[in-house]
């Protein structure tokens, strides 16, 4: 029997005060007027709990933009969900945090873009760094479970040790160091984000050292860069296997990026129950299991470990969502990844040898995400 999903990712809004150049939101963001109401979300949370879901990740955009966030946390907690707030910290105050904790918020995950303020603001497209530095100790002192999240890429990997030191100074229980994943806005900005081979090798060493040094104090979870891996990532633990994402307008998706795949009809929680969507809908069944797999996946020993990799990445790169994820060294489309890495690592590539500084970067260096309508 199909197991219940473990987690619900609720993208409660795509509105955000930040414009991070690697944002995982889709290029076509949900408009503010299309967002689910408070009641809609409360209903989804109750359904999620009944379905057997344990964790709720309140994500966005920036969830704090929703004026009803306190009601959402309250409803999620009462439904029995373990509630995690994924935030930039912008819009958080001590009193708002305390209200959220009273309502039952279990965990706060705060992002940082860089250790250097000017660089961090450049990556976020707004002056958010100082606000984060101010709110981090407030979160730590509140006693809530606290994770710091850092997305790493070519423009901040040279400061990884300083980034870890910054995170360490705020004493979270957990630190997530995630190499950027190339979908959404990160795919648009990939040319400037893809790290060099040397940066990747250094980052693995630095993270391993930090894990050893901080053992028992800060748990470090690392997400490796799949362009440099031999085998693809087990994206989302398999399509329709572990997680459900509901976007601001109520569309239920197997992952953040699934909306890019043409020909898939995503059901809306306004029209269908979460349970039906999970068990029965075409979109969740499309790549579930192994029936859909082409070669070399179909006969590969690793198919039950990585599920053929990521469907969205397969589509973005090969134009065919059914193909093997090109990140896999065995994939027919892998030469594309090799070409990207060859170019990025070429000594004549100005992008890798000459990192522009904020202020000196040419106009249009980044494609910043705008606000949704």
């Amino acid at each position: 029997m199909l197991p219940a999903p473990l987690a619900l990712i609720a993208e409660v809004t795509h509105r955000c005060p930040l414009h991070c150049v690697y944002c995982s939101n889709p290029l076509e963001m949900a408009a503010a007027q299309s967002e689910l109401t408070t009641q809609d979300w409360c209903n989804v949370f109750q359904q999620a709990s009944k379905l057997g879901i344990l964790h709720l990740h309140l994500s966005g955009g920036e969830p704090l933009v929703r004026e009803d966030l306190l009601e959402l946390v309250d409803a999620a907690h009462k439904a029995g969900l373990y509630t995690n707030l994924i935030t930039s910290g912008v819009g958080l105050t001590e009193s708002r945090l305390n209200s959220l904790l009273k309502a039952g918020l279990d965990h706060v995950q705060l992002s940082f873009q860089d250790s250097l303020e000017a660089n961090a603001n450049w990556l976020a497209g707004t002056r958010a760094h100082a606000l984060k530095v101010k709110i981090a100790p407030v979160i730590q002192q509140s006693g809530v479970a606290f994770t710091i999240n850092i997305v790493v890429h070519r423009q901040n990997l040279d400061h990884l040790e300083e980034l870890i030191a910054l995170a360490e100074s705020f004493q979270p229980q957990r630190l997530e160091i995630a190499h950027a994943q190339y979908y959404g806005w990160a795919f648009k900005n990939r040319e400037a984000l893809l790290p060099t081979q040397k940066q990747v090798a250094d980052s693995l060493r630095i993270v391993a050292e930090a894990q050893k040094r901080l053992a028992g104090r800060i748990r470090i979870d690392a997400v490796v860069p799949d362009y440099y891996a031999r085998y693809p990532k087990a994206c989302m633990g398999g399509w329709g296997q572990r997680q459900v994402l509901v976007d601001p307008s109520g569309r239920a998706l197997p992952c953040h990026a699934a909306g890019v795949i043409p020909g898939l009809q995503f059901e809306n929680v306004r029209d269908q129950s979460l349970e039906w969507i999970w068990r029965e809908s075409d979109s969740f069944q499309k790549f579930r299991g192994e029936q859909w797999m082409p070669e070399p996946c179909r006969s590969c020993d690793r198919r039950s470990q990585d599920f053929g990799g990521c469907r969205c990445q397969a589509f973005l790169i090969t134009g065919d969502a059914v193909s093997t994820d090109p990140a896999c060294s065995l994939a027919p489309g892998h030469s594309y990844i090799e070409e990207q890495l060859k170019r990025i690592n070429s000594p004549t590539n100005s992008a890798s040898s000459d990192t522009p500084q904020p202020g000196t970067a040419p106009e249009g260096f980044w494609i910043y995400r705008p606000q949704p309508r």
Partner: protein, 91 residues
Amino acid sequence: MPHLEESSQPRLAAGCRWAGEGENRALLFPEGALRLQDTGRAILERCDGRRTFQQIVEELQTQYGVSDPAKIRDDVSAFLERLQQKRVVDF
């Protein structure tokens, strides 16, 4: 790395809590959950910040009536130290 002493009083770390009943009883924590049966559950349910490590071991030795008390002590110690590194338990 903190060291587990006889007098340590293990407790669930911030953000770790129990949910569900019976077979579905699980320990929830940031980004994860443990569905524990038998001894694992018996150990963690005693990590209340009041009982000492020594008391927990004695209670389990009584409950499970094992012939080798040193082994149960080592097993509990290894289990708690592993969960401390995952930041699920503090002591």
